[in-house]
Point group: C2
Chain length 82, copies 2
């Protein structure tokens, strides 16, 4: 089984209140590590029974750009895990 | 800047209606690649201004297990990106 993972994150210029809330919650919960920024994203894990071909990866890229993300406010990256 | 990314996914035994909906939508939208399974997850991107020490990574792991995921239904993995 091969996993093709589409990671979707908000563009840098888009406000992320949920990430900000986590950022503020961490010290309040007693964690001492310092973050300069926290962002929340989504991931989609597509399991295939074979390694994706170049044309399949192209299709997955197109699905990521249309079905899985909103290109106005989000960007995505695709990684393949064997 | 170093990114510590916490990927949270539903446990395999937990139903994922959103993943199923995506799975059904793909062929309907004309995509021909075959998936055996689609799952949706969340990711948290913590940006640090330095490489995390072992003790910081331990703290991040503890934050992932308490604030960022629900251990009853979710599992998480942590990866560090320079």
């Amino acid at each position: 089984m091969v996993k093709v993972i589409v990671d979707v994150v908000l563009k840098d210029e888009i406000l992320d209140p949920q990430g900000d809330a986590i950022s503020r919650a961490l010290p309040r919960m007693g964690f001492s590590f310092k973050t300069t920024n926290v962002r929340q994203g989504k991931s989609f894990i597509l399991t295939l029974d074979h390694s994706p071909s170049a044309s399949e990866l192209k299709e997955i890229e197109s699905a990521a750009a249309t079905l899985l993300s909103n290109p106005v406010i989000e960007t995505f990256t695709i990684r393949v895990e064997d």
